[in-house]
Symmetry: C2
Subunit: 139 residues, 2 copies
Amino acid sequence: MQLSCINFIYICIMGVLRKTKSVKLLLTEFDKKSSAISVITLVDRLKVEMNKTTVYRILDKLEDDGILHSFLGKNGLKWYAKCKGCSSKTHHDVHPHFQCVSCGKVDCLTVSITIPEIPNYKVEASHVLLQGKCKACIG
Amino acid sequence: MQLSCINFIYICIMGVLRKTKSVKLLLTEFDKKSSAISVITLVDRLKVEMNKTTVYRILDKLEDDGILHSFLGKNGLKWYAKCKGCSSKTHHDVHPHFQCVSCGKVDCLTVSITIPEIPNYKVEASHVLLQGKCKACIG
DNA sequence: TACATTATTACAACTGAGTTGCAAATATAA
DNA sequence: TTATATTTGCAACTCAGTTGTAATAATGTA
């Protein structure tokens, strides 16, 4: 059973993040969709309910608290998705992301990509963005 | 023996790219350094010699002609590096890039990273950005 | 419930990378 | 040298993301 964001936030220790109307609305967006959402989409979708600054600041805090993780899409735009098993201390979401060139959708992939040992370099983090066609767009 | 950019450009078929003073200056920058250079660095370094619009437009053309390839760094900023064995038709430079968190330097890595087959996804391109410490910053 | 404290929000103004339109300048071909 | 096509500088713009501040709302405590 996957815990919804809304439920999760009521259970987990959220640091100093308050249960405001804006926070709840934002989390509801991530409950609706399992795939990632770009910040510009969120700002546009919630423009009636809240200011774009609020969106940016809440997303930033939710990431700090290990509820969401962020990454950059193919144009350098920021995306967010739900974390699975992250804490505020460590983000375990170092997984690849897939962006469909047809419909633009971005998914978190569960496959793990092996980064080989590279002489003279000490690799500490990896960002893998794959592009191609998603299931719906292949047919 | 590695051909310098300046020499390379005189030999290769460059489409409709003209040998202007600005093009030569830009290519000289890539001859000086073997690692990648960010656009903002280039714009700043060449601000006396040319307009930033010129920098952006020349880089764009050099990429089209397979002389340079571009990718996004950790902040979504654009970087360029010399291509090795690319033509204007196909860019072979689908290699990982490494960005040092200490000094900010970005290198093209020669290692190849295997992207596994992913069910329901047709992967067409991959962007891999590794972060950590480079040789100079490990010690 | 009421109050004090602290976090959050809206708003407007800003930053900075990257883009666009256009007239003037320059490279190339004839 | 001239005609043609490309390139350049400039200014103004776009747009994602940030910052300061005053007002507002959530939380803890009495």
